[in-house]
Symmetry: C2
Protein backbone atom coordinates (compact mmCIF):
# COMPACT_ATOMS: atom_id res chain seq x y z
CA UNK A 1 0.00 0.00 0.00
CA UNK A 2 1.31 3.43 -0.87
CA UNK A 3 1.95 5.78 2.02
CA UNK A 4 -0.39 8.73 2.23
CA UNK A 5 1.62 11.87 1.51
CA UNK A 6 1.24 15.14 3.43
CA UNK A 7 1.03 18.06 3.25
CA UNK A 8 -1.32 18.38 0.29
CA UNK A 9 -1.40 21.38 -2.04
CA UNK A 10 -5.13 21.66 -1.50
CA UNK A 11 -7.99 19.87 0.26
CA UNK A 12 -11.59 19.87 -0.95
CA UNK A 13 -12.86 19.93 2.65
CA UNK A 14 -11.88 19.30 6.29
CA UNK A 15 -8.91 17.06 7.01
CA UNK A 16 -9.61 14.11 9.31
CA UNK A 17 -7.10 13.70 12.15
CA UNK A 18 -5.45 10.32 11.53
CA UNK A 19 -4.00 10.17 15.06
CA UNK A 20 -6.03 7.72 17.15
CA UNK A 21 -8.00 6.78 14.04
CA UNK A 22 -7.73 2.96 13.97
CA UNK A 23 -7.91 0.85 10.82
CA UNK A 24 -11.16 -1.12 10.58
CA UNK A 25 -11.08 -4.42 8.67
CA UNK A 26 -13.49 -7.34 8.11
CA UNK A 27 -15.38 -8.85 9.78
CA UNK A 28 -17.62 -6.06 11.11
CA UNK A 29 -21.31 -5.69 11.84
CA UNK A 30 -22.53 -2.21 10.97
CA UNK A 31 -25.74 -1.22 12.79
CA UNK A 32 -28.17 1.13 11.04
CA UNK A 33 -28.80 4.70 12.27
CA UNK A 34 -25.78 4.61 14.62
CA UNK A 35 -22.89 7.11 14.40
CA UNK A 36 -19.69 5.03 14.66
CA UNK A 37 -16.46 5.92 16.48
CA UNK A 38 -13.70 7.43 14.32
CA UNK A 39 -11.78 4.98 12.16
CA UNK A 40 -10.30 4.17 8.77
CA UNK A 41 -12.67 1.94 6.79
CA UNK A 42 -11.02 -0.59 4.49
CA UNK A 43 -13.75 -1.36 1.98
CA UNK A 44 -14.22 -3.01 -1.38
CA UNK A 45 -15.55 -0.97 -4.27
CA UNK A 46 -16.77 -1.63 -7.80
CA UNK A 47 -17.37 1.03 -10.43
CA UNK A 48 -18.58 1.24 -14.03
CA UNK A 49 -16.96 4.21 -15.74
CA UNK A 50 -17.32 5.41 -19.31
CA UNK A 51 -14.35 7.18 -20.89
CA UNK A 52 -14.16 9.04 -24.16
CA UNK A 53 -10.73 9.61 -25.68
CA UNK A 54 -10.77 11.97 -28.69
CA UNK A 55 -9.59 10.05 -31.76
CA UNK A 56 -9.92 6.66 -30.02
CA UNK A 57 -13.60 6.57 -29.16
CA UNK A 58 -15.48 5.53 -26.06
CA UNK A 59 -15.20 2.58 -23.67
CA UNK A 60 -17.17 1.49 -20.63
CA UNK A 61 -14.94 -0.21 -18.09
CA UNK A 62 -15.80 -2.34 -15.04
CA UNK A 63 -13.48 -1.60 -12.11
CA UNK A 64 -12.86 -3.56 -8.92
CA UNK A 65 -10.71 -2.60 -5.99
CA UNK A 66 -10.66 -1.02 -2.57
CA UNK A 67 -10.71 2.28 -0.74
CA UNK A 68 -9.44 3.48 2.63
CA UNK A 69 -11.76 6.12 4.05
CA UNK A 70 -10.85 8.01 7.24
CA UNK A 71 -13.94 9.08 9.20
CA UNK A 72 -14.03 11.86 11.81
CA UNK A 73 -15.62 11.52 15.22
CA UNK A 74 -19.33 12.25 14.59
CA UNK A 75 -20.38 15.78 15.58
CA UNK A 76 -23.23 14.39 17.75
CA UNK A 77 -24.10 11.14 19.46
CA UNK A 78 -27.60 11.01 17.99
CA UNK A 79 -27.94 9.81 14.40
CA UNK A 80 -30.26 12.70 13.45
CA UNK A 81 -27.77 15.39 14.48
CA UNK A 82 -24.51 13.67 13.57
CA UNK A 83 -22.29 14.84 10.73
CA UNK A 84 -19.24 12.84 9.77
CA UNK A 85 -16.33 14.23 7.72
CA UNK A 86 -14.41 11.81 5.54
CA UNK A 87 -11.08 11.69 3.72
CA UNK A 88 -10.45 9.22 0.93
CA UNK A 89 -6.84 8.53 1.88
CA UNK A 90 -6.14 5.65 -0.53
CA UNK A 91 -7.84 4.03 -3.49
CA UNK A 92 -6.91 1.22 -5.83
CA UNK A 93 -9.19 0.07 -8.64
CA UNK A 94 -8.37 -1.93 -11.72
CA UNK A 95 -10.34 -2.46 -14.90
CA UNK A 96 -9.67 -3.44 -18.47
CA UNK A 97 -11.01 -2.36 -21.83
CA UNK A 98 -10.38 -3.97 -25.19
CA UNK A 99 -9.64 -0.63 -26.79
CA UNK A 100 -7.71 1.05 -23.97
CA UNK A 101 -6.12 -1.96 -22.21
CA UNK A 102 -5.82 -2.07 -18.42
CA UNK A 103 -6.77 1.02 -16.42
CA UNK A 104 -5.56 1.50 -12.84
CA UNK A 105 -7.19 4.18 -10.71
CA UNK A 106 -5.46 5.69 -7.67
CA UNK A 107 -5.51 9.08 -5.94
CA UNK A 108 -3.58 12.19 -6.89
CA UNK A 109 -0.92 12.51 -4.17
CA UNK A 110 -0.98 16.31 -3.91
CA UNK A 111 -4.73 16.83 -3.37
CA UNK A 112 -6.74 15.63 -0.37
CA UNK A 113 -10.00 14.02 -1.50
CA UNK A 114 -12.65 14.80 1.10
CA UNK A 115 -16.31 14.31 1.81
CA UNK A 116 -19.02 14.25 4.39
CA UNK A 117 -22.09 12.34 5.48
CA UNK A 118 -24.91 14.55 6.73
CA UNK A 119 -28.57 15.32 6.33
CA UNK A 120 -29.32 16.08 2.70
CA UNK A 121 -31.03 19.39 3.62
CA UNK A 122 -29.14 22.16 5.38
CA UNK A 123 -32.07 23.65 7.26
CA UNK A 124 -32.63 22.65 10.85
CA UNK A 125 -35.97 21.07 11.61
CA UNK A 126 -35.84 19.06 8.41
CA UNK A 127 -33.81 16.16 9.74
CA UNK A 128 -34.31 12.96 7.82
CA UNK A 129 -33.52 9.44 8.84
CA UNK A 130 -31.47 8.84 5.71
CA UNK A 131 -28.36 10.90 5.15
CA UNK A 132 -26.49 11.91 1.99
CA UNK A 133 -22.84 11.08 1.36
CA UNK A 134 -20.55 13.16 -0.86
CA UNK A 135 -16.87 12.74 -1.68
CA UNK A 136 -14.87 15.09 -3.92
CA UNK A 137 -12.15 12.99 -5.50
CA UNK A 138 -8.86 13.85 -7.22
CA UNK A 139 -8.06 10.65 -9.13
CA UNK A 140 -5.44 9.51 -11.59
CA UNK A 141 -5.95 6.90 -14.27
CA UNK A 142 -2.99 4.88 -15.58
CA UNK A 143 -3.49 3.49 -19.11
CA UNK A 144 -0.18 1.70 -19.77
CA UNK A 145 -1.25 0.31 -23.17
CA UNK A 146 -1.86 3.85 -24.42
CA UNK A 147 1.09 5.30 -22.48
CA UNK A 148 -1.34 7.71 -20.84
CA UNK A 149 -1.67 8.92 -17.26
CA UNK A 150 -4.86 10.93 -16.90
CA UNK A 151 -6.07 13.05 -14.00
CA UNK A 152 -9.05 15.25 -13.22
CA UNK A 153 -8.79 18.93 -12.25
CA UNK A 154 -12.42 19.53 -11.34
CA UNK A 155 -13.08 17.01 -8.54
CA UNK A 156 -15.12 13.92 -9.34
CA UNK A 157 -18.14 14.31 -7.05
CA UNK A 158 -19.14 10.84 -5.86
CA UNK A 159 -22.49 10.74 -4.09
CA UNK A 160 -24.61 8.17 -2.28
CA UNK A 161 -28.25 8.91 -1.47
CA UNK A 162 -30.33 7.35 1.25
CA UNK A 163 -27.47 6.50 3.62
CA UNK A 164 -28.74 4.52 6.63
CA UNK A 165 -25.43 3.29 8.02
CA UNK A 166 -21.84 4.53 8.24
CA UNK A 167 -20.05 3.31 6.22
CA UNK A 168 -22.77 2.85 3.58
CA UNK A 169 -21.44 -0.60 2.62
CA UNK A 170 -23.43 -2.18 -0.22
CA UNK A 171 -24.92 1.15 -1.34
CA UNK A 172 -24.95 2.27 -4.97
CA UNK A 173 -23.70 5.72 -5.85
CA UNK A 174 -22.89 7.88 -8.83
CA UNK A 175 -20.53 10.53 -10.08
CA UNK A 176 -22.27 13.90 -10.50
CA UNK A 177 -21.02 14.79 -13.97
CA UNK A 178 -22.28 17.73 -16.04
CA UNK A 179 -22.23 16.00 -19.47
CA UNK A 180 -18.49 15.30 -19.49
CA UNK A 181 -15.74 15.62 -16.88
CA UNK A 182 -12.46 16.70 -18.51
CA UNK A 183 -9.37 14.55 -17.86
CA UNK A 184 -5.86 15.85 -18.49
CA UNK A 185 -2.64 14.08 -19.45
CA UNK A 186 0.38 14.12 -17.11
CA UNK A 187 2.49 14.49 -20.26
CA UNK A 188 0.74 17.80 -21.02
CA UNK A 189 -0.88 18.83 -17.73
CA UNK A 190 -1.55 22.42 -18.83
CA UNK A 191 -2.89 21.47 -22.26
CA UNK A 192 -6.43 20.83 -23.36
CA UNK A 193 -8.35 17.78 -22.09
CA UNK A 194 -6.91 14.44 -23.30
CA UNK A 195 -10.04 12.47 -22.42
CA UNK A 196 -13.42 12.77 -20.77
CA UNK A 197 -15.21 10.79 -18.10
CA UNK A 198 -18.81 10.69 -19.28
CA UNK A 199 -20.50 8.41 -16.73
CA UNK A 200 -19.62 6.85 -13.37
CA UNK A 201 -21.75 4.47 -11.33
CA UNK A 202 -20.23 2.76 -8.31
CA UNK A 203 -21.15 0.49 -5.44
CA UNK A 204 -19.49 0.47 -2.03
CA UNK A 205 -18.45 -3.01 -0.97
CA UNK A 206 -18.12 -4.44 2.51
CA UNK A 207 -15.14 -4.46 4.85
CA UNK A 208 -12.06 -6.34 3.61
CA UNK A 209 -9.42 -8.24 5.56
CA UNK A 210 -5.77 -7.11 5.40
CA UNK A 211 -5.11 -10.25 3.33
CA UNK A 212 -7.78 -9.24 0.82
CA UNK A 213 -6.29 -5.74 0.53
CA UNK A 214 -2.83 -7.27 0.10
CA UNK A 215 -4.08 -9.60 -2.61
CA UNK A 216 -5.38 -6.65 -4.63
CA UNK A 217 -1.98 -4.96 -4.19
CA UNK A 218 -0.27 -8.09 -5.45
CA UNK A 219 -2.51 -8.05 -8.51
CA UNK A 220 -1.44 -4.46 -9.10
CA UNK A 221 2.20 -5.53 -9.15
CA UNK A 222 1.46 -8.33 -11.60
CA UNK A 223 -0.16 -6.05 -14.19
Amino acid sequence: MATTEFPKKIAYGPEVNLQNCPDVFAPQTVPEFTPPPTGIDNLGITSTDTFSVPGLGEATVEFQGWVRVARSKPTAESWDRAEVYTNLIEMYMRGESEAFGPIIVTLQPDILSTGMIRNPRATEGHDTAAKACRMAVAAQFELPKLGLQLFNREPIELTIDNVKSIPPAGSPGKGQIYFVLPLFSRADPDGKPAAYLTSLKFRMGGYLTPAQMQSADTQALLH
Copy 2:
Protein backbone atom coordinates in the same frame (compact mmCIF):
# COMPACT_ATOMS: atom_id res chain seq x y z
CA MET B 1 -10.65 46.55 -10.20
CA ALA B 2 -8.45 44.14 -8.27
CA THR B 3 -5.41 42.87 -10.10
CA THR B 4 -5.50 39.21 -11.00
CA GLU B 5 -2.83 37.44 -8.96
CA PHE B 6 -0.53 34.73 -10.34
CA PRO B 7 0.69 32.10 -9.86
CA LYS B 8 -2.28 30.23 -8.42
CA LYS B 9 -1.99 27.29 -6.02
CA ILE B 10 -4.26 25.26 -8.27
CA ALA B 11 -6.33 25.62 -11.44
CA TYR B 12 -9.50 23.66 -12.17
CA GLY B 13 -8.59 23.48 -15.88
CA PRO B 14 -6.44 25.03 -18.62
CA GLU B 15 -5.09 28.55 -18.10
CA VAL B 16 -5.93 31.03 -20.84
CA ASN B 17 -2.97 33.04 -22.10
CA LEU B 18 -3.76 36.65 -21.25
CA GLN B 19 -1.07 38.00 -23.59
CA ASN B 20 -2.73 39.38 -26.72
CA CYS B 21 -6.14 38.77 -25.15
CA PRO B 22 -7.90 42.14 -25.51
CA ASP B 23 -10.64 43.41 -23.20
CA VAL B 24 -14.04 43.43 -24.88
CA PHE B 25 -16.58 46.00 -23.66
CA ALA B 26 -20.02 47.22 -24.77
CA PRO B 27 -21.31 47.80 -27.34
CA GLN B 28 -20.87 44.48 -29.18
CA THR B 29 -22.95 42.44 -31.57
CA VAL B 30 -22.50 38.71 -30.91
CA PRO B 31 -23.41 36.54 -33.91
CA GLU B 32 -24.83 33.06 -33.25
CA PHE B 33 -22.90 29.89 -34.10
CA THR B 34 -19.64 31.79 -34.67
CA PRO B 35 -16.43 31.08 -32.71
CA PRO B 36 -15.06 34.50 -31.66
CA PRO B 37 -11.42 35.61 -31.51
CA THR B 38 -9.74 35.40 -28.09
CA GLY B 39 -10.66 38.14 -25.65
CA ILE B 40 -11.67 39.08 -22.13
CA ASP B 41 -15.43 39.51 -21.92
CA ASN B 42 -16.65 42.17 -19.48
CA LEU B 43 -20.23 41.11 -18.78
CA GLY B 44 -23.03 41.78 -16.36
CA ILE B 45 -24.38 38.96 -14.23
CA THR B 46 -27.32 38.41 -11.89
CA SER B 47 -27.70 35.46 -9.55
CA THR B 48 -30.21 34.17 -7.02
CA ASP B 49 -28.41 32.20 -4.32
CA THR B 50 -29.81 30.50 -1.26
CA PHE B 51 -27.58 30.25 1.80
CA SER B 52 -28.10 28.29 4.98
CA VAL B 53 -26.11 29.30 8.05
CA PRO B 54 -26.45 26.84 10.97
CA GLY B 55 -28.07 28.64 13.89
CA LEU B 56 -29.14 31.60 11.75
CA GLY B 57 -31.39 29.97 9.18
CA GLU B 58 -31.75 30.35 5.46
CA ALA B 59 -31.84 33.33 3.12
CA THR B 60 -32.32 33.72 -0.62
CA VAL B 61 -30.34 36.65 -1.96
CA GLU B 62 -30.52 38.47 -5.30
CA PHE B 63 -27.05 39.42 -6.58
CA GLN B 64 -26.03 41.86 -9.29
CA GLY B 65 -22.58 42.53 -10.63
CA TRP B 66 -20.07 41.70 -13.31
CA VAL B 67 -17.57 39.12 -14.43
CA ARG B 68 -14.41 39.22 -16.53
CA VAL B 69 -14.03 36.01 -18.51
CA ALA B 70 -10.89 35.32 -20.54
CA ARG B 71 -11.60 33.15 -23.58
CA SER B 72 -9.00 31.09 -25.47
CA LYS B 73 -8.64 31.06 -29.23
CA PRO B 74 -11.24 28.50 -30.40
CA THR B 75 -9.73 25.11 -31.26
CA ALA B 76 -11.40 25.18 -34.70
CA GLU B 77 -12.81 27.76 -37.06
CA SER B 78 -16.08 25.89 -37.53
CA TRP B 79 -18.69 26.24 -34.78
CA ASP B 80 -19.38 22.49 -34.69
CA ARG B 81 -15.74 21.58 -33.97
CA ALA B 82 -14.72 24.55 -31.85
CA GLU B 83 -13.93 24.25 -28.16
CA VAL B 84 -13.23 27.36 -26.13
CA TYR B 85 -11.46 27.35 -22.74
CA THR B 86 -12.37 30.05 -20.27
CA ASN B 87 -10.94 31.56 -17.10
CA LEU B 88 -13.10 33.59 -14.74
CA ILE B 89 -10.39 36.11 -13.88
CA GLU B 90 -12.51 38.57 -11.88
CA MET B 91 -15.99 38.68 -10.40
CA TYR B 92 -17.88 41.19 -8.34
CA MET B 93 -21.45 40.64 -7.21
CA ARG B 94 -23.39 42.32 -4.46
CA GLY B 95 -26.62 41.33 -2.76
CA GLU B 96 -28.38 42.00 0.49
CA SER B 97 -30.43 39.92 2.87
CA GLU B 98 -32.45 41.14 5.84
CA ALA B 99 -31.01 38.41 8.06
CA PHE B 100 -27.43 38.35 6.82
CA GLY B 101 -26.95 41.96 5.66
CA PRO B 102 -24.93 42.75 2.53
CA ILE B 103 -23.07 39.93 0.80
CA ILE B 104 -20.22 40.63 -1.61
CA VAL B 105 -18.99 37.85 -3.86
CA THR B 106 -15.51 37.85 -5.40
CA LEU B 107 -12.99 35.18 -6.43
CA GLN B 108 -10.52 33.36 -4.22
CA PRO B 109 -7.13 34.82 -5.22
CA ASP B 110 -5.15 31.57 -4.93
CA ILE B 111 -7.30 29.33 -7.16
CA LEU B 112 -7.86 29.78 -10.89
CA SER B 113 -11.56 29.36 -11.75
CA THR B 114 -11.77 27.75 -15.18
CA GLY B 115 -14.29 26.43 -17.63
CA MET B 116 -14.99 25.49 -21.19
CA ILE B 117 -17.61 25.74 -23.90
CA ARG B 118 -17.90 22.60 -26.04
CA ASN B 119 -20.32 20.05 -27.37
CA PRO B 120 -22.28 18.51 -24.51
CA ARG B 121 -21.36 14.97 -25.67
CA ALA B 122 -17.77 13.80 -25.88
CA THR B 123 -18.21 11.33 -28.72
CA GLU B 124 -17.36 12.43 -32.23
CA GLY B 125 -20.17 12.20 -34.74
CA HIS B 126 -22.65 13.51 -32.18
CA ASP B 127 -22.01 17.19 -32.76
CA THR B 128 -24.91 19.40 -31.81
CA ALA B 129 -25.60 22.96 -32.79
CA ALA B 130 -25.96 24.06 -29.19
CA LYS B 131 -22.97 23.77 -26.89
CA ALA B 132 -22.68 23.39 -23.12
CA CYS B 133 -20.79 25.85 -20.92
CA ARG B 134 -19.22 24.90 -17.58
CA MET B 135 -17.20 26.98 -15.13
CA ALA B 136 -15.68 25.66 -11.90
CA VAL B 137 -15.55 28.59 -9.50
CA ALA B 138 -13.63 29.26 -6.30
CA ALA B 139 -15.60 32.10 -4.72
CA GLN B 140 -15.51 34.05 -1.50
CA PHE B 141 -18.49 35.64 0.19
CA GLU B 142 -18.03 38.66 2.49
CA LEU B 143 -20.82 39.09 5.07
CA PRO B 144 -19.67 42.17 7.01
CA LYS B 145 -22.80 42.33 9.21
CA LEU B 146 -22.08 38.83 10.50
CA GLY B 147 -18.30 39.33 10.48
CA LEU B 148 -18.01 36.30 8.21
CA GLN B 149 -15.89 35.61 5.17
CA LEU B 150 -16.98 32.36 3.58
CA PHE B 151 -15.36 30.37 0.79
CA ASN B 152 -16.01 27.11 -1.03
CA ARG B 153 -13.50 24.24 -1.21
CA GLU B 154 -15.34 22.04 -3.69
CA PRO B 155 -15.70 24.27 -6.77
CA ILE B 156 -19.11 25.76 -7.52
CA GLU B 157 -19.94 24.25 -10.92
CA LEU B 158 -21.79 26.87 -12.92
CA THR B 159 -23.37 25.53 -16.10
CA ILE B 160 -25.29 26.93 -19.06
CA ASP B 161 -27.13 24.58 -21.42
CA ASN B 162 -28.07 25.28 -25.02
CA VAL B 163 -25.28 27.76 -25.78
CA LYS B 164 -25.71 29.25 -29.27
CA SER B 165 -23.27 32.15 -29.01
CA ILE B 166 -20.00 32.93 -27.27
CA PRO B 167 -20.32 34.59 -24.83
CA PRO B 168 -23.78 33.23 -23.95
CA ALA B 169 -25.04 36.70 -22.97
CA GLY B 170 -28.63 36.63 -21.74
CA SER B 171 -28.57 32.88 -21.02
CA PRO B 172 -29.83 31.41 -17.77
CA GLY B 173 -27.61 28.95 -15.89
CA LYS B 174 -27.42 27.11 -12.63
CA GLY B 175 -25.01 25.84 -10.02
CA GLN B 176 -24.79 22.03 -10.03
CA ILE B 177 -25.16 21.39 -6.30
CA TYR B 178 -25.60 17.96 -4.72
CA PHE B 179 -28.10 18.98 -2.00
CA VAL B 180 -25.79 21.45 -0.23
CA LEU B 181 -22.40 22.92 -1.09
CA PRO B 182 -20.29 23.42 2.05
CA LEU B 183 -18.85 26.89 2.71
CA PHE B 184 -16.01 27.45 5.16
CA SER B 185 -15.06 30.43 7.30
CA ARG B 186 -11.74 32.25 6.78
CA ALA B 187 -11.59 32.52 10.58
CA ASP B 188 -11.56 28.72 10.85
CA PRO B 189 -10.59 27.49 7.37
CA ASP B 190 -9.80 23.93 8.49
CA GLY B 191 -12.91 23.58 10.64
CA LYS B 192 -16.30 22.21 9.77
CA PRO B 193 -18.57 24.05 7.31
CA ALA B 194 -19.81 27.43 8.56
CA ALA B 195 -22.61 27.66 5.99
CA TYR B 196 -24.06 25.97 2.95
CA LEU B 197 -25.03 27.13 -0.50
CA THR B 198 -28.22 25.23 -1.26
CA SER B 199 -29.31 26.70 -4.61
CA LEU B 200 -27.81 28.96 -7.27
CA LYS B 201 -29.54 30.23 -10.41
CA PHE B 202 -27.84 32.88 -12.50
CA ARG B 203 -28.23 34.77 -15.76
CA MET B 204 -25.36 36.09 -17.87
CA GLY B 205 -25.85 39.72 -18.79
CA GLY B 206 -24.63 41.62 -21.82
CA TYR B 207 -21.37 43.49 -22.37
CA LEU B 208 -20.70 46.43 -20.07
CA THR B 209 -18.81 49.65 -20.70
CA PRO B 210 -15.73 50.50 -18.62
CA ALA B 211 -17.85 53.21 -16.96
CA GLN B 212 -20.48 50.65 -15.96
CA MET B 213 -17.80 48.37 -14.49
CA GLN B 214 -16.29 51.31 -12.64
CA SER B 215 -19.67 52.30 -11.26
CA ALA B 216 -20.12 48.81 -9.76
CA ASP B 217 -16.64 49.16 -8.22
CA THR B 218 -17.58 52.51 -6.78
CA GLN B 219 -20.67 50.94 -5.23
CA ALA B 220 -18.38 48.33 -3.67
CA LEU B 221 -16.33 51.07 -2.04
CA LEU B 222 -19.46 52.76 -0.70
CA HIS B 223 -20.73 49.67 1.11
